[in-house]
Amino acid sequence: MKIALFIPCLVNQMMPEVAIATLTLLEKLGHEVIFPAGQTCCGQPMTNSGCFDEAKNTTLKLLNAFKGVDCDAIVCPAASCLVAAKENFHEFDGSQEAQEVISKLYELTEFLHDIAPIKTFSRPVAAKISMQMSCHGIRMLNLATPTEQMGKQRFNKVEAVLGNIAGLEIVYPARIDECCGFGGTFAVDEGAVSAKMGKDKAQAHAATGAKYVVGFDPSCLLHLDGMIRRQKLPIATRHIAQIINDAL
């Protein structure tokens, strides 16, 4: 398939290794990958604060970067940015062209589960990982059944994607899908509560004895990384793209 990368500002500027892993793994899987120019941010910091006027230019700039781009899918290694882009594109542009972009948007895990599943992994990854089940991916993108939801048909796309990697042991922290407390500007506006949530989450991950906290949302990982290092916990963060890339 021909894939256009949607690399949110945080990943582009602060976590390029996540974008490189995403690009590399998709290439290893035989896809043609392009990176359309002109992307900055999905507008989430503004719309999350209710400031829709301030978000408009940013959102439309990102949308324009994808309009008319020849590709089968637009893939993003950040769940909450992906959700925000989808919603914001829809909010600010009702055109057919915008709809075409929206219909091609996929979060990386979602893409690897629903659209182009990985047939075989070639390398083992001998590590115990504690999954960070971030809110937007779980509750807005349906990457896994949230714990609040009952009923028989439970699923976990993250585990389904990583499940066939030899040597990999997947564990979960206590209060498995409780929010880590990042929440965009919440992290600075509500510093005390955000930090307490992050501290509790980091400790829950460390308590599993895992080597890595692995997640699909870089912003949560950045926040957890800061909390982990402040408390000197014996665990490190890795993005799901890095684990998959290591296994291919």
Partner: protein, 462 residues
């Protein structure tokens, strides 16, 4: 710190939460106690194969009733009248309190026993009646505890959850004369029971809230775990029941659906210990129902906010909310805290900060037994505040700058290169004071040498 206060002296949520968070042991205990309720809820909900179906039914029947509200309220009134119940209508809190006082004054009531009503809290009825010389006794154990401590409820179902048993022991020692230093829950509960028994026997009138008002029956449902509503309503001859217009449901089948979810979602019980139905006064007595609007009709004009009126006040969203559990009920600047408190209280908060006391994690929406889209309502409140130019935490000033910054590649690339360089070469201690709340609580990120875009240009572009 001055920007943290409004002219009337209220503090923004973050400031109150910060104070609550200073006692980390208490935060852990508070969070754990409420999470235990969430876990009980999960077990109770999970034991019903039709749980999600019940949620959908609950949501649909509440939406149906709300969209035919006038019809069902009229039917309810008619049926009440034919059952010998007196019905009153109040537009706002003031009218509600005046109606209640009018009824009590006519009967020369000196002592009122009350149970389970967040609406009377919303209307600030207790202080109003007390100013008019009427003693109001809250009879629910948790409510009685906070009443003795002169505090408002900090949770809508477990109103004294913020108090430890040792603190209750001390309070009872001071107020009820129990033994000093005694904190055994059984001993304290027995003391409260004896104390309340005396109040029930000597009260002139009883008042309760209403969990559901059944339109085609002209009856109301009140749920308590302690039987205190029944003790109240059955002892004196005069009984009053206050309800919001949103409490009406069409029929007994609707009650069946909501009763199955209410207690399970609140405390994990299959059903509340006492689910009492009142459909007429006792012999020689009087039964009054006061139907209150107090801003609910106004809320219904906004399609998104209107869905908050589906709420049946189980408190499940508070128990699951990671922010509520770590900031406490008193940080929300409204009688009702937590996600539902933000949904129905944001317009009353003069600090404009409570819609931001949320990470938009969405757990509350999935927990809710009537599928109130709480995270969407909270996000909508932020937009309403932004549109009204009432943004807290300096957002009104910096958001336009963020908007311009994010929309420009040049601006972003130049300044982010500088920031990465600073993060790499300057010692952390030098940067921390400049990094605000992020650096106060966390280590700053380890910055990469270059952005992905420049890596890509070097390694992939043709």
């Amino acid at each position: 710190m001055s920007e943290l206060y409004t002219a009337s002296g209220s503090k923004v949520h973050a400031h109150k939460a910060d104070i609550f968070c200073r006692d980390e042991t208490r935060v852990d205990w508070h969070s754990k106690a409420l999470w235990a309720l969430r876990e009980k809820r999960d077990r109770a909900a999970g034991s019903l194969p039709e749980w999600e179906q019940l949620r959908l039914l609950g949501s649909q029947l509440k939406l149906h009733t709300l969209s035919h509200l006038a019809q069902y309220l009229e039917q309810f009134e008619q049926q009440c009248l034919s059952n010998g119940i007196k019905v009153h209508w109040a537009n706002d809190a003031q009218q509600h309190n005046e109606i209640v006082h009018g009824i009590l004054a006519k009967h020369k009531v000196k002592k009122l026993v009350k149970s389970k009503s967040m609406l009377t809290e919303e209307c600030h009825m207790n202080p109003y009646l007390e100013r008019h010389g009427i003693e109001v006794v809250d009879t629910d154990l948790g409510e009685r505890i906070i009443q003795l401590a002169n505090m408002p409820p900090s949770h809508i179902v477990v109103p004294a959850i913020h108090m430890k048993k040792e603190e209750v022991g001390e309070l009872f020692h001071q107020q009820l004369g129990t033994k000093a230093g005694e904190s055994d829950p059984l001993y304290l509960t027995r003391a409260a029971r004896a104390h309340l028994r005396e109040k029930f026997l000597t009260a002139d009138a009883a008042m309760t809230g209403v969990n559901m008002a059944i339109a085609d029956q002209g009856a109301i449902v009140v749920c308590t775990n302690e039987g205190n509503a029944d003790m109240g309503a059955n002892l004196p001859k005069l009984q009053l029941h206050s309800m919001g217009i949103d409490k009406v449901v069409p029929n007994m089948d609707s009650v069946g659906v909501l009763l199955r979810t209410l207690a399970r979602n609140a405390t994990g019980q299959p059903i509340t210990t006492y689910s009492s139905f009142y459909r007429g006064p006792q012999e020689g007595g009087e039964m009054h129902v006061i139907i209150v609007d107090n801003g609910r009709t106004e809320m219904m004009k906004d399609k998104i906010l209107a869905e908050s009126l589906k709420c049946i006040r189980c408190g499940g969203c508070l128990n699951t909310c990671p922010v509520y559990r770590r900031s406490g009920g008193y940080s929300y600047n409204y009688t009702i805290p937590g996600p539902i408190g933000i949904a129905v209280g944001a317009k009353h908060d003069d600090t404009n900060s409570i819609p931001w006391a949320c990470t938009l994690c969405g757990s509350c929406t999935y927990v809710c037994p009537t599928m109130v889209p709480l995270d969407k309502i909270i996000a909508h409140h932020r937009r309403l505040k932004a549109d009204a130019k009432r943004l807290p935490y300096g957002k009104g000033g910096y958001m336009p700058l963020v908007g311009r910054f994010m929309a420009s590649e040049t601006l972003m690339n130049t300044s982010m290169s500088a920031a990465r360089l600073a993060l790499r070469v300057l010692p952390g201690s030098l940067l921390k004071p400049f990094s605000g709340a992020w650096g106060k609580y966390r280590e700053l990120p380890v910055a990469p040498e270059s952005s992905f875009a420049s890596w890509y240009n070097k390694n992939r572009s043709r």
